[in-house]
Amino acid sequence: MTDLTHDQALAPLRRQRHLKLPPLGASLAILFLFALLLAALAPGLFTRIDPLAIVPRQAFQPPGWAHWLGTDQSGRDIFARIIHGARQSLLIGLAATAISMVIAIALGLLGGLGGARVDRAVGWLLEVLFAFPSLVLALLFVAVFGSGVGPLIVATGLGGAPGYARMVRGQVLAVRNAGYIEAARALGHPTARIVLRQLLPNAMRPLVVTLTMGVGQAIVWASALSFLGLGARPPAPEWGTMLSMGRDFIANAWWLTFFPGLFIVLTTLATTVTGRYIQQRLEGRLP
């Protein structure tokens, strides 16, 4: 009985501790993301092999010394393709998230600041967009505008926009009556300046976490579309495309499919862990 109360007394502290990930995890995640960024900017640092070089005699080599992660059906080095694919994936993920944010900020500001009628209209528009599961929306977009990296980015961006828009709108509504906004208005600052300098940054701060994880999500969505053959087309070294091309050979050469997928998982994991870490720091739950 005493143990119970003792436990209960310590429970809040203990709860904090197991929600907090050990710094080891977070640092690994951040390190991975940094390495990924480096790979995207300077792939030459990681590999000298040309990811598009076809060497038919070396097709389907298993992972080994010459080719760390093996080769694919045309003899292309998989590690090289993954490194170069990092640029594709990161580019797509960041661009798509950027598009989502632009749409979200536009709609969120409109809804949050425009008055009741506009707000209702925006809310209604969001409902309409929300009515589609994200992949279905992306498929519709691709159906109309064709496949390829450009439509892929826009489609993925569209898929994520409604979620962010709702959050932005909520944040804008919460922040617009804050003290510092009143003060700024009282001081006579122009509305645009208030919005840009005070409102938006404060509204967006809690979204940083969501955005970080969102980039990971965008990469997964884009990979899913490429996996279906509707995004980056072969022989582009995009991870989803590589996964799809390797699918037929999974019985003979599992490494074609396994490694691109592994990197997608690691990227998503890294963005999630990093995002959580940032959140916990922001909320002051860490020392």
């Binding site: 203990r14 279905v136 519709l140 159906a143 996964l243 999974i250």
Partner: protein, 328 residues
């Protein structure tokens, strides 16, 4: 019995009435949303490049004669101005006619009827499986100490990070091709449902578990839990009977979104596992530029999703009336 000024109405009836009102409002809103969706898809798909007549008449290998093309144009109403086509289209929609698929030469409603069942089966199975996993993982391991919690948390984060298309291929390779525990293809047997449902359920379970775990741990610290414990209830009983009901709320609200994610996932999983379903059908329709089928499936999916969200919302209301004024 004379009424007094302090008339107390039956709280239960009040709640039901409020729920009913809300349901009507949401349904009406849903209909409007669907109208907007139908309009959006109609005009979007009319913008598609390529002549739909060629798609109808057999695609790349067909060699239609001029008469056949004219006949098809009239048959599908493609010779009229866009606005007229739109009005006809809405009219047919109201009568439940979604047109005829270009690639399958079947009414779209029939395609949906034949394929919808399999997707519904997959989605429900995945959702149930996800919840089973969530409950097992969180209820048993919440609040038990740093190591257990840490491991469980790691498992959840890892599962949530698994892309379902990769998981599906890996599960297929290991369990169907390699170990031969499950059939590699098919939509008929129960056994063929397990691997696709798992590949959708595991990532979803990861998401929901994270949220439910947080909420559960918060709940487990509440005073009423202590009270229940002092009454001598076993730990498991406390967790399941008392804590869970309160902790479920965030998970339930996520389930609405989850259904949408599952439908998206079903598209890919049906392709990987060679299953019947509207997901794979939609994908093929997009490839074949089959307008009526793409519109039809998108509409029905949207309708289903809207309905599911309304139901989830009502369920949420029912469980927790304090949320009456929840912001949109």
């Amino acid at each position: 019995m004379t009424t007094t000024t302090l008339a107390v109405t039956d709280p239960r009836r009040e709640r039901l009435a409020a729920l009913g009102r809300r349901a009507v409002i949401r349904l009406a809103g849903g209909v409007l949303v669907l109208w907007a969706v139908a309009t959006l898809t109609f005009f979007a798909l009319r913008l598609m490049p390529g002549d739909p007549v060629l798609a109808i008449l057999g695609g790349p290998s067909g060699n239609p004669t001029p008469e056949a093309i004219e006949a098809a144009r009239v048959e599908y109403g493609l010779d009229k101005p866009l606005a007229v086509q739109y009005v006809f289209y809405l009219g047919r929609l109201l009568q439940g006619d979604l047109g005829v698929s270009y690639s399958q030469h079947l009414p779209v409603t029939r395609v949906l009827a034949e394929q919808g069942g399999a997707t519904l089966e997959l989605t429900i199975a995945a959702l149930l499986l996800a919840w089973v996993l969530v409950l097992l993982l969180t209820v048993v391991t919440a609040g038990r100490g740093r190591l257990v919690g840490g491991i469980a948390s790691l498992a959840e984060t890892l599962s949530a990070a698994l892309p379902h298309f990769w998981l599906g291929v890996v599960l297929l390779a290991v369990f169907a091709f390699g170990l031969r525990w499950f059939p590699p293809a098919g939509s008929d047997s129960f056994a063929s449902l397990i691997l696709p449902a798992l590949s959708l359920a595991i990532p979803l379970a990861g998401f929901i578990a994270q949220v439910t775990r947080e909420s559960l741990e918060l709940t487990l610290d509440q005073p009423f839990i202590l009270t229940a414990r002092t009454r001598g209830l076993s730990d498991l009983a406390v967790r399941f009977r008392h804590a869970l009901r309160h902790a479920l709320l965030p998970g339930v609200s996520l389930s609405g979104w989850a259904i949408g994610a599952l439908i998206s996932g079903a598209v890919v999983c049906e392709v990987i596992f060679s299953r019947k379903g509207v997901g794979r059908q939609l994908y093929q329709a997009v490839q074949a530029q089959d307008l009526p089928l793409v519109i039809g499936i998108s509409l029905v999916v949207a309708a289903g999703y809207v309905l599911a969200n309304i139901l989830v919302d009502l369920l949420y209301q029912w469980i927790d009336p304090r949320q009456q004024e929840a912001a949109a």
